[in-house]
Symmetry: C2
Subunit: 321 residues, 2 copies
């Protein structure tokens, strides 16, 4: 049983939504039409101590930051501008009020950074520290990007180098494995990731971007989701690898690209772009954000993902695999 | 340190919201204005196994039902019509997919009952079974009811008898303490509570209802919150007691009203109504819902809550007391 199997079974239990809901369970966020001229994107994401973070690897303020960024990234992936968020916190009986406020300092810092308002929440005792956030954003109907719009022959691209967060996670317990400046960059990518909100809104405004999602579960898993939603397959050719990820993989004798493809939590965006428009869009993107929009492969009709001449297995997070 | 102290400290950390947020942290729900003519109410509520429910006391389907109803009740307390909800589930590693689907059957049944759409969610491993829901509703700006609108001399009233859920909780481990038909009613009130959505929308349409909230944490705690938000005090005179609560309290030699006042999770609404309008409103309410709108006391200028000639201490749930 995989997480996606469970989600499919849940969809069968839940009633089909009313007409004001334009997109239900299964994408980065749901879409709702509160009034004729508006679309709201809604997403929810839960971080659990011991599963998504440990206090050995990061301080609680960073855990709060990451929890907020995971939700901001899901909104970004729909092309939405973040508007507001609610926060439910479950805290162990031993947690002092100070720990709750430390988490909130991280939540508030990430929220301020993307101009989203924290408008409410819930506090509960729990055996495990749990941060559960729901975030709402606004998006023009014409700018909405889902996972399902990809077409054979589209160019696949990502908004940045992959593998830094995975390298940071592994370096948190072994910080001297690579050069200290690289290690510091990776640790920061892991503890204080950035949601690509501005990049996403830029890409969402282009009709040539057919599909968009974030790479929070690792490219191998997320590309598979995009392919399945778009009913096509992909040839993955080459991915940009973060310098720290490359250094860590090489000192272990692993292939840097495979290391990066399997790493989650990078929060870069994965897009499928009309082939004829890609180089023009990539040029504008690079001038605007001073970072390349990196082509990683193509969509194609044949199902499955090919990588290095072989089928690519999912290797990112799956809470049920 | 109480839960309310922690919430006050959180409010100081979180940035003040933008203009489209009409009500932030601190009421049953937040209020947002997605477009000029619309108000949305947003609430979030987390249920944790071992804190809010145990598998000895209820099946997982009931836990799902209760989690949804807690959110529906918060929307109702703002006068809002439920529109959509997201669900984040944390499940222990040992939990089978079947247990997740059992929770979803309860969530979906409660959602169908109040016509709210479940539009998305998140699944995560967790050391503790956790159900975290965010729900959104719609309300006319003129119908919004907060906790802060109560005025001295307002009549305080509740939409139904109290104490049934507390009796049900206690009877779950000792079902033969009272007559079996009463015990069954109480167990149902505890396991399958009802959110007073229709009643709330009826009351919200009256300008004579100055304040409204739900009694999810027990009347003693929630009335104190209403009084503090409305900057006044209250004289509590007499509360309607559910028959099962009365029977259980009497067989233990406890005062039935005190038992009911201290019991949480009843999800009845507590309102403050203009004194001159109360009997007319109560008559209309009774004809419409075939249930009395029960006067329990009055608001007054003097701070604090008086009950039986003495100050009433908070006795409901407080996760930090």
């Amino acid at each position: 049983v995989t997480e996606d199997d469970v989600v499919a079974a849940i969809r069968a239990i839940v009633e089909p939504p009313h007409a004001s809901v334009k997109l239900g369970i299964g994408d980065d966020a749901a879409l709702w039409q509160p009034s004729r001229s508006h679309r709201s994107a809604i997403t929810t994401d839960m971080l659990v101590e011991g599963v998504h973070f440990t206090r050995q690897d990061m301080i609680l303020e960073d855990a709060g930051w990451r929890a907020m960024v995971a939700n901001l990234s899901d909104l970004a992936a729909m092309g939405a501008r973040p508007v507001l968020a609610t926060v439910a916190l479950g805290v162990p009986g031993a947690a002092a009020a100070g720990e709750i406020l430390e988490i909130y300092r991280g939540l508030a810092a990430a929220a301020k950074h993307s101009e989203i308002d924290i408008v409410g929440g819930d506090l509960s005792r729990s055996g495990v520290l749990t941060i559960s956030i729901t975030a709402i954003g606004e998006v023009r109907a014409s700018n909405v990007k889902t996972r399902s719009g990809g077409r054979p022959n589209d160019v696949l691209a990502v908004t940045g180098a992959l593998g830094a967060a995975r390298a940071g996670l592994e370096l948190a317990s072994d910080p001297n494995a690579i050069a200290s400046d690289l290690a510091e960059t990776a640790l920061r990518a892991f503890r204080r990731p950035q949601a690509r909100v501005a990049e996403a809104r830029f890409l969402a405004a282009s009709a040539n971007v057919h599909a968009m999602m974030d790479c929070s579960d690792g490219l191998s898993t997320d590309l598979d989701r995009l392919c399945q939603a778009s009913r096509c397959g992909a040839l993955l050719e080459s991915v940009p690898v973060a310098p720290a990820a490359r250094a860590l993989a090489e000192c272990r004798g692993e292939d840097p690209q495979s290391f990066a493809i399997a790493g989650g939590e990078d929060f870069e965006l994965l897009i499928a772009v009309d082939r004829r428009a890609f180089s023009y869009l990539a040029g504008r993107f690079e001038r605007r954000f001073r970072r390349p929009l990196a082509r990683v492969g193509d969509l194609r009709e044949r199902p499955g993902i090919e990588w290095n001449g072989a089928p690519l297995p999912r290797s990112g997070w799956d809470h049920f695999a």
